[in-house]
């Protein structure tokens, strides 16, 4: 200290001073106890661009008029309008019609929504959901909280499916050679060909479906095959589970589905399985069970090891995340099996650090026998699956954490082989009638099978495509029958545990369309059968008792059919040896993955999903090639550089995105983009990698050649936007985390930097809220959050949030009220990642309120930071003054006010905002109002957890808790009382109502040193 003062008083000697500053910096670094967190590689490098981003409320350019009309020209043009701006409030309200029912249904009370149980299916697996219906218009999807496969949670695909229903680009008519036809025309047209097939026992009929788990549809198909014994049923879906069933075949000699009981698992090893993101069967239940075991304050915390070939949200939650090329996972699994004491055949020798890792994981697994689980990824080789089964059996996990059941898939054949056989038949001229029920094989079939080519160039006389869109496959078929959306049609489907949910429609079909069930009925000769009759008829056969009506009503009401859950099966592992490991070669590996948003391409026209930032890259609207920082350096690539990818003679050109934590010498590409006929939203967005995908190696392949083309491509990522400024860096980290051990030593580490209650100049400030019956607050448990993005879409759906498009996203004008920030920690090759959902903090001392010149954002007595749209004049002072950057501004007219379908979709309880208005998270004030009014009418208080915000309600992990913090017994108060609880930037004395529970990791001490 003394020397410090002395040197500064001398001052003149600059060299000395510099040295001293350097010393202090180093000293400060050394003093820092907390870990350093970063959000993007630019931030890690401390680039000027990043500093710029932090300072502004919006990224550079977002608040400027950069379009063809210059700002000055715009002002000149709009001068008169601006002068009259104040007069807009003086418009006369137009006369509005009001249209009552003719006969009002008994159970409908206008103004109060009804909820119906139904199921959303993806990849054959049903997600049980409850759909909110306002006067029979479905508006919002929630999880079915009574159903064990959902427990109230949903995933992003289920959440966004409501937009699919109202998509104006959906197929609205039946087509024959691109001419509009009626259903009657089709019935007539198919009669002849079908009749002539009778004579040859249907030997020319081929039916191609996606994965079917529906008992009634499977029954219809089976009966069809009885009627036409020579006909064939093929199944193909690009994101299939061929390897899963092949692995089960290898291990048990029969296909089985594997369920995991993560609530019983102390140690979880993920072999490239992304089981915490939408699309993995059972995700909603797994996320809940996983989160339950991640509470450091209750019971033993589980430990997750994740080996992964591409960074995923599962890896981000892992205590030990190991980036590993997909082809090396098998060697690792063999080594792990060997370390556990059985000989799975010689493994490719793992590298030196892996030996240590294998040993540590094996010892950890041994120490927790029967309470561990090894989860293989769907895209890993059958051998990895067989090894995982063997390890789970050897450790005694079966029955505790692992349960085998019959496959949910009604026809668990090898789908690639099934499609190959179909193409061969087509080329051999054996196919007279090809009926494609759903799916888009002309776009997503493996390139080497040449399905589209066979469809186009072989003369199959009758080609039919049933689909939601007039897509690439519809283009190549003579007949296209418009398919009903799942919210318009009767059906049934099995959840991951086998439980059947009757899929009941929420609305009559918006267009003249038919379901697969109705089409199958026509083929079986009952042309007039409705979906309702078919599904109900099937279940009547299954449950023929006199109480069927009751059984049926109960199944519809509850959302599942009693007694259909698959029982656990005892399967014996076959001791047969595994095939010898193959050398995958050392070339560059390419991974093909389902896109986290558009899945296999079927959601390409869904604007919500397109604009949803991907869990780690925060990419929107595109699917760049992911590449490791080290590899990019070696190849001289930067993010947004275009590269040519060459694999087996096929070449695709796509941009690069450098992703921290990606394994070296490998790239990841996401399928589902580059559609030619997706609709206005999805067509020509992103890059199609299906042409690189071969049927022999659909998931990963080595021998990729990469060449830089020299061109650049603009990618719209939200990573780094809305970055909160932390001038002193580590002194007040936004994400706080410790290991379990450190947490036990220092339980209140998260309290650092919290201002004392006495800091405010207004004594008794708190008292004004204490007399209120309700004081709303939210606690977000970072330990539970799995980064599944569901909350973003739940909020978007509930609050009528618009989609802005790629160009606007790139300017940082996206409108999501809730964002999920990703923070990385450690070096760029092996970073630890953290998710942090950030809604409005609802500060008690809100900085935004002080600066609003028109009082458009003010405090409510219950502590909400109200946003009054009709008062807002768009000065944007509030967002400029918001340290959390949670306010969103309608720079342009982002809402679609014209499309009639979207009008039906909107939540009638939330104002639809127009241009020039600021908006932000309201804690779902419409729900608060509803519940408060209901409670007051019934002369009671709102019960704890009775009132849930949209993000909370469908969070599969239960990470978000909202409630009354004036009630010390409420769930949220109990969470806020924990020592892990902290507020963001609390030292600003904003007194945020939204607080976070610091993240605690449970690393293996053996691997820590």
């Amino acid at each position: 200290m003394k020397e410090n003062g002395k040197s500064s008083s001398q001052g003149a000697c600059s060299g000395k001073k510099n040295k001293l500053m350097f010393e202090t910096a180093r000293q400060r670094l050394a003093e820092t106890t907390g870990p350093e967190y970063w959000r993007s590689l630019e931030e890690l490098a401390g680039s000027a661009q990043f500093r710029e981003m932090i300072r502004g409320e919006f990224p550079q350019g977002a608040s400027e008029w950069l379009d063809s009309v210059s700002r000055r020209g715009f002002l000149r043009l709009m001068g008169a309008s601006l002068a009259m701006a104040g007069m807009t409030a003086c418009t006369k309200q137009p006369l509005e019609p009001i249209v009552p029912y003719v006969r009002q249904p008994e159970d409908v009370v206008p103004g109060r929504p009804l909820f119906y149980a139904t199921a959303f299916s993806l990849g054959g697996y049903a997600s049980p959901v409850l759909v909110e219906s306002h006067l029979y218009r479905p508006t919002k999807i929630e999880g079915n909280d009574k159903h064990p496969a959902s427990l109230g949670g949903t995933d992003v695909f289920a959440q966004a499916s409501i937009l699919g229903l109202y998509d104006p680009d959906r197929s609205q008519t039946h087509l024959y050679l691109n001419q509009v036809r009626t259903w009657g025309n089709f019935v007539e047209a198919i009669r002849g060909p079908l009749h002539s097939q009778k004579a040859v026992e249907g030997s020319g009929i081929r039916i191609l479906t996606r994965t079917v788990s529906s008992p009634s549809l499977a029954d219809q198909l089976a009966r069809m095959l009885e009627l036409y014994p020579q006909a064939k049923w093929h199944v193909y879906e690009p994101i299939n589970r061929d390897n899963v069933y092949a692995g089960a075949q290898l291990a048990f000699g029969q296909p089985v589905d594997t369920q995991y009981r993560l609530e019983n698992a102390d140690v979880i090893v993920s072999l490239d399985a992304d089981f915490l993101y939408g699309g993995f069967p059972g995700i909603t239940r797994y996320a809940r069970d996983f989160a339950k075991r991640r509470d450091p304050d209750g019971g033993e915390m589980s430990r997750l090891y994740a080996l992964e070939s591409t960074p995923s949200s599962t890896g981000a939650k892992a205590d030990h995340r190991v980036p590993m090329r997909a082809s090396e996972i098998e060697g690792f699994a063999r080594a792990l099996a060997a370390a556990l004491g059985f000989n799975p055949g010689a493994g490719t020798l793992p590298h030196e650090p892996e030996v240590r890792l294998v040993g540590a994981i094996a010892r950890d697994l041994e120490a927790h026998r029967s309470r561990t689980v090894v989860i293989p990824g769907d895209h890993q080789s059958p051998v990895v699956h067989a090894l995982a089964h063997a390890i789970n059996q050897a450790l005694g996990n079966v029955g505790n954490t692992v349960i085998y059941t019959d496959p949910v898939n009604a026809r668990p054949v090898n789908q690639t082989a099934s499609l190959r056989e179909l193409v061969a038949d087509m080329r051999a001229g054996k196919v007279d009638m090809l009926l494609i029920l759903g799916g888009n094989p002309a776009y997503d079939a493996p390139a080497d099978l040449g399905f589209a080519d066979a469809l186009k160039n072989t003369s199959v006389p009758f080609r039919l495509h049933l689909g939601l869109y007039q897509d690439e496959t519809a283009e190549l078929c003579q007949w296209h029958v418009s398919e009903t959306h799942f919210l318009e049609a009767w059906g049934d489907a099995r959840a991951y545990d086998g439980t059947v949910t009757i899929q009941q429609p929420l609305i009559a079909p918006l267009y003249d369309s038919k379901s697969a069930y109705e089409l199958m009925a026509l083929l079986a000769g009952q042309s007039e059968a409705s979906g309702y009759e078919i599904v109900r008829g099937y279940w009547q056969k299954q449950h023929s008792g006199a109480d069927f009506d009751q059984f049926w009503a109960k199944a519809l009401h509850d959302g599942w059919v009693e007694g259909t859950t698959f029982p656990a099966r005892q399967v014996a592992a076959r001791p047969a040896g595994l095939p010898a490991p193959e050398d995958s070669g050392q070339g560059i590996e390419i991974n093909f993955r389902r896109d986290p948003s558009v899945y296999d391409g079927c959601f390409a026209n869904n604007g919500w999903l397109q604009e949803l930032p991907r869990p780690l890259t925060k990419m929107t609207w595109d699917n760049p090639v992911l590449i490791a920082p080290k590899m990019a350096e070696r190849l001289g690539l930067a993010s947004e550089d275009m590269i040519a990818l060459e694999l087996n003679g096929n070449t695709r050109v796509a941009p690069v995105w450098i992703q921290a934590g990606h394994p070296d010498n490998a790239v990841t590409v996401f399928l589902g983009y580059g559609r030619r006929r997706a609709g206005r939203v999805g067509t020509a967005s992103g890059f199609d990698f299906y042409p690189l995908r071969a049927s022999g190696s659909p998931w990963f392949s080595t021998g990729l050649k990469i060449q830089k083309t020299g061109e650049r491509y603009l990618l719209a990522t939200t990573q780094g936007y809305q970055t909160m400024e932390t001038p002193n860096g580590d002194t007040r980290p936004l994400v706080r985390s410790r290991s379990l051990e450190e947490y036990h030593k220092e339980p209140d580490f998260a309290q650092e930097g919290k201002p004392p209650a006495s800091l405010t100049l207004y004594p008794g400030y708190q008292a004004q809220y204490e007399k209120e019956p309700y004081e709303w607050g939210m606690a977000i448990d970072l330990n539970a959050c799995v980064g599944c993005n569901n909350c973003i879409l739940a909020c978007q759906s509930e609050n009528n949030i618009p989609v802005v498009g790629k160009e606007q996203c790139n300017k940082g004008r996206h409108m999501h009220w809730l964002r999920v920030d990703v923070y990385y920690q450690g070096d760029r090759d092996h970073p630890q990642a953290y998710f942090q959902p950030v809604p409005c903090m609802q500060c008690e001392n809100a900085p935004c309120e002080l600066v609003c010149p028109v009082g458009a954002t003010v405090h409510s007595t219950e502590g909400l930071n109200d946003m009054v749209y009709n008062r807002c004049v768009g000065t944007r002072y509030c967002s400029n003054n918001c340290p959390y950057k949670v306010r969103r501004f309608n720079f342009l007219l982002f809402q679609d006010w014209e499309t009639p379908q979207y009008k039906m979709m909107r939540n009638p309880d939330v104002t639809v905002r127009s241009r020039g208005v600021m908006e932000k998270c309201t804690y779902c004030v419409q729900r608060i109002s509803h519940h408060r009014i209901d409670a007051e009418r019934e002369k009671r208080r709102i019960g704890d957890l009775e009132l849930q915000t949209a993000c909370q309600q469908s969070c599969p992990a239960g990470a978000i808790t909202f409630g009354n913090i004036n009630d010390p017994n409420s769930q949220v108060s109990r969470l806020k009382a924990k020592s892990r609880n902290y507020g963001l930037l609390e030292d600003l004395n904003t007194r945020p109502r939204t607080t976070y529970l610091a993240e605690i990791r449970n690393p293996n001490s053996e691997l820590e040193s």
Binding site: C90, K92, Q93, L95, E96, P97, I98, V99, P100, Y101, V102, R103, Q104, V109, P110, G111, R112, E772, V858, H859, S860, T861, E862, L864, D866, V868, Y869, N870, D909, V910, T911, V912, T922, V925, Q926, I928, S929, I933, E936, R937, K939
Partner: protein
């Protein structure tokens, strides 16, 4: 050199003086237009497919409000009766009346009657009938003497100042809950006192203050928070 004529002084003074009045007048006129029935439609009868008379049905026949507006106690929306409600009686009486032909046509064809909305709030305002009914706000407090309206019109301006007028002092408008649907309810006066819970009231204010407590009304600060109506 004199450029302006001497009279310019007077004219400019008069102009300056006059401008104050002119500007004030323009502002006053704007405000008055904004509050006038021209903008608010207050007390303006709207075109309807059937000239339904509330006076005849309510005062003449004594039909309760809730016979048609069924969800008024349970929901934000009071409900517009379906055609079936009309036909409950009109399949028996006035079965041939030409005035009722649109109603019968609607019932026959299954196509809804398209009424013009009378009490129409802006889309960013969320009003809830059920809670007002529950807290003792009478129908005619806001909707006016519906039983004396041969053709329906909105009684009040429905502007925010009108809402806030009551939200800032609800006591002046509350009545016992069993009087909410009484169209001829009169506030207590010395001539017609009102007895409630054994206490006699001779003026509205003392009754209102007690009802605020009895019905557990939220504080004025609560019900004038923006998010009470805007969200």
């Amino acid at each position: 050199m004199q450029i302006f004529h001497r009279s310019t002084n007077t004219i400019s003074r008069a102009t300056l003086f006059g401008a104050v009045f002119l500007i004030s007048f323009v502002l006053w006129a704007c405000i008055e237009i904004q509050r006038s029935p021209y903008v608010t439609y207050a007390k303006v009868v709207r075109p309807q497919p059937v000239p339904f008379s509330h006076q005849h049905h309510v005062a003449g026949l004594g039909i309760d409000c809730r016979y048609c507006h069924t969800s008024v106690e349970a929901s934000s929306f009071a409900g517009i009766p379906p055609t079936k409600t009309c036909m409950n009686c009109h399949s028996q009486i006035w079965t041939g009346a030409w005035l009722l032909e649109p109603v019968r046509e609607s019932f026959r064809s299954g196509k809804s009657l398209v009424w013009t909305r009378v009490n129409d709030l802006p889309d960013f305002v969320y009003f809830d009938h059920s809670i007002h009914i529950n807290k003792g706000v009478g129908c005619n407090t806001c909707h006016g003497p519906v039983d004396r309206m041969p053709l329906m019109y909105n009684y009040a301006s429905l502007q925010m100042e009108w809402c806030l007028d009551c939200h800032r002092d609800p006591a002046k408008n509350l009545r016992p809950r069993d009087q909410v649907f009484n169209m001829r309810y009169e506030p207590p006066s010395t001539l017609k006192p009102l007895t409630l819970d054994g206490k006699q009231y001779t003026d509205q204010l003392s009754l209102g203050v007690d009802l605020v407590k009895k019905y557990n009304l939220r504080t004025v600060a609560d019900i004038t928070s923006c998010s009470t109506c805007h969200r």
